[in-house]
């Protein structure tokens, strides 16, 4: 048996900063010191604090090493693992107080979090089913199969108040109830792991860190609605998640937790993986099912809803990864426990992926009802470089921007809708004063124009026309009439599109028009971009009294747009330079080069 466990994050974030090389080096050093039988090295899922990766935690001390480098490993092994002296210098400095080391759970990032869906991420080895079982894994499946009727299972999920975590927030129990009510020779349980919103990566982390939680929940759902076959639709761009899911499915088979006659109850359930080819629209439920069937991923009209005619025209339920990650906990701890967290209409917790202009980029799980201010400024550690908060974008290309005035709104499904955004899958992108809101709207529109499947006209052509207007505005060719035209077009697209992609695509435009109309007006009337982002409205200039005439900028300029003048400022030895705005390509290279802050844009 081992006396110490070293947990190294093997999520996508830390893997891309070489955490697997750290694992190799650790094993090598431990072997050299003869500690390999005493110290266990475990590759886990994501810890959430991705900004500080690669992350490594040593138990039983609970020492949290951040931004670990391969070169640090010999010292950590020699000092900490052999001699018991924690290498304070390499710890996450927020855990270090004068003489003591603070528990990770007391740091600002973790203190306000409540981990339900992410409870095993960063704790267990996702490639070992025993680790999951040790955390009461598959006990919920055992409980429903031996003690509960399918109706009781559905009632428990209904009572818990769990709503779909994929974005729309439909009550999960109700979905199950509808599918259970439809008689058919075959039904299906599907898992939507086609996480496509720019900036959202919570589903990936659950799959990478706790894949069995999804398998167990799907089997429970299968029992509840009377299905024996499940499909996980996961995007091929998540290779680690795909690999670990397959390992998990194989291990569950080996233990007889998937397959035939599970727990000797006669219940059969199996799960297959289907890899998505990266089309955003395949995250929409009807497109996803069409894609599983082997056809081109396009939505189909609803009704009939999937609970009536879904995959292969059979009753089907489709839930998101994070939704499933809550199920086993609800069964084991009860609906009341789950319903005790959150707000009146949104129960439980929600995982958010923090990105953009924020110090603690990463994954956080908080009870519903937490305010945006707490997420951004306490858990997220605020905005870097002392910049001012401008807006937070939730819901990805389907969502909207939340301005400063709504920072104190408790976050739940309904409140977010009321302020013109939506929960979405939980991407949360923070923007500061350097972000142009018209440009942000344009960014998301470019994304939806690219990803529109083209089946229905409002989405295919409507979003394209919308983008063209946004481009004109950011190029300085906008007119005030365009604002009204855009708004009208937005409502038209929303009302007439076939699926969720088109119905929500105008949201980024509508919400920025609602809260940041003044920025649109500046672009149109003053021909200025207040945040100095839109290139065609920018002008670079050199303050000739600050310029010392060193000529660095002229040498850097790729367009040869900077030339020396005949003006020498008082007290300066050489003549100043100036930019020819006709030739300038607005790359900003000169501004980055100037050591004397003589170049400005605006």
């Amino acid at each position: 048996m081992y006396r110490s466990n070293v947990l190294v994050c093997g999520g996508t974030g830390c893997t891309s900063s070489n955490s697997l090389k750290i694992v190799d080096k650790l094993k090598e050093e431990l072997k050299a010191k003869g500690l390999d039988k005493e110290v266990n090295v475990i590759t886990t899922g994501c810890f959430g604090l991705c900004a500080l990766g690669p992350i490594m935690v040593v138990y039983p001390e609970g020492s949290f090493y951040s931004m670990v480098k391969v070169e640090d490993i010999p010292e950590i092994v020699e000092e900490h693992l052999l001699k018991g002296r924690i290498v304070t210098r390499l710890l996450y400095q927020e855990t270090v107080e004068e003489d003591t080391i603070k528990s990770l759970n007391k740091t600002a990032f973790y203190a306000k979090q409540k981990r339900v869906a992410l409870r095993n991420c960063g704790v267990i080895d996702p490639e070992k089913i025993d680790d999951y079982i040790a955390q009461d894994g598959y006990a919920a499946l055992g409980k429903v199969l031996t003690e509960m009727t399918p109706e009781e299972v559905i009632q428990t999920i209904l009572d818990s108040g769990l709503r779909g975590r994929g974005g729309a927030g439909f009550p999960t129990g109700l979905k199950w109830k509808f599918a259970a009510a439809n008689d058919a020779d075959q039904k299906y349980v599907c898992c939507n792991a086609d996480e496509g919103d720019p900036g959202a990566f919570m589903d990936r982390s659950v799959l990478e860190g706790d894949p069995h939680a999804v398998l167990e929940a799907m089997a429970i759902a299968g029992y509840a609605i009377g299905a024996s076959q499940g499909y996980i639709y996961v995007r091929a761009e998540y290779p680690i998640a795909v690999k670990r899911l397959q390992i998990a499915i194989d291990q569950a088979h080996e233990y007889g937790l998937l397959g035939e006659d599970i727990f000797g109850t006669g219940f059969n359930f199996d799960i297959k993986l289907r890899l998505g080819a990266g089309a955003f629209v395949c995250g929409e439920e009807t497109s996803l099912m069409t894609s599983i069937e082997g056809k081109r991923g396009e939505p189909r009209p609803r009704p009939p809803f999937p609970a009536v005619k879904g995959l292969y025209r059979k009753p089907t339920i489709l839930n998101n990864v994070e939704t499933y990650a809550n199920i086993a906990q609800i069964i084991l701890k009860g609906a009341d426990w789950f319903a005790s967290m959150g707000t009146e209409k949104s129960k439980g917790t929600k995982v958010f992926a923090l990105g953009g202009k924020i110090n603690h980029t990463g994954l956080v799980e908080i009870p519903m009802g937490t305010t945006l201010r707490e997420i951004v400024f306490e858990i997220g550690g605020g905005i870097p470089n002392g910049k001012k908060f401008k807006a937070a974008q939730t819901g990805g290309p389907s969502g909207g921007c939340i301005p400063e005035e709504h920072l104190d709104v408790p976050i739940d499904y309904d409140n977010l809708l009321a302020i013109g955004s939506m929960m979405g899958s939980g991407g949360l992108i923070v923007m500061d004063e350097d972000n142009c809101m018209v440009d942000v709207a344009k960014f998301f529109l470019e994304f939806t124009v690219d990803e529109s499947c083209g089946k229905c006209t409002p989405c295919r052509i409507g979003t394209k026309r919308l983008l063209e207007m946004l481009e004109k505005i950011t190029n300085g060719q906008g007119t005030m009439e365009m604002i009204d035209e855009m708004e009208e077009l937005c409502y038209y697209i929303k009302a007439n599109s076939l699926c969720g992609l088109g119905q929500t695509a105008p949201n980024p435009v509508l919400s920025t028009l609602r809260y940041f109309k003044d920025e649109y007006i500046s672009h149109i009337v003053d021909k200025k971009c207040p945040a100095a982002v839109c290139k065609n409205l920018l002008e670079f200039s050199i303050d000739k009294d600050k310029c010392i005439g060193c000529g660095m900028c002229a040498r850097k300029c790729p367009a040869s747009a900077i030339a020396v003048t005949d003006y020498t400022a008082p007290g300066k030895k050489k003549p100043a330079y100036a930019i020819d705005t006709e030739k300038c390509v607005k790359c900003g290279a000169c501004m980055d080069t100037c050591k004397f802050k003589a170049i400005s844009k605006g």
Partner: protein
């Protein structure tokens, strides 16, 4: 998997390793001095004996075994400190793997300090 009992057996077997990965502020702590002096005097077999004994008895959720540095009484190494919440810290000296079972049984489980192994008992 044909029964819940089978699942429970796997769970119990795997649990000890998982207990090691949780912060438990209420756990009793066994601190083994693992500085150069401690290691030279044979602290590692003592540390491993504690880990094994506690895992064998299924006490991993209530007792944490960890290392510490030199506490300055190098002549008495291997030194082991036992901290039970709410009680005074006890320091055992000149520990050997053979003495470990008694410390776990008498002190950590039954709350009777093994006086003869303590620093007070040794220097008398």
């Amino acid at each position: 998997m044909k029964s819940l009992a089978e699942l429970k057996a796997i769970r119990d077997r795997a649990k000890a390793s998982l207990d090691l990965r949780k912060e438990n502020p209420n756990a009793a702590r066994v601190l083994v001095g693992m500085a150069t002096c401690g290691i030279a005097a044979g602290a590692r077999p003592v540390l491993n004996a504690f880990t094994e004994e506690i895992q064998k008895r299924g006490l991993t959720d209530s007792i944490t075994v960890t290392q510490t540095g030199c506490i300055g009484i190098c002549q008495y190494e291997p030194v082991v400190e036992v901290e039970i919440p709410g009680e005074e810290k006890v320091t055992y000296v000149k520990m050997t793997p053979e003495k470990v079972a008694r410390v776990v049984n008498d002190h950590l489980v039954n709350k009777n300090v093994v006086t003869e192994y303590t620093i007070g008992g040794y220097t008398k």
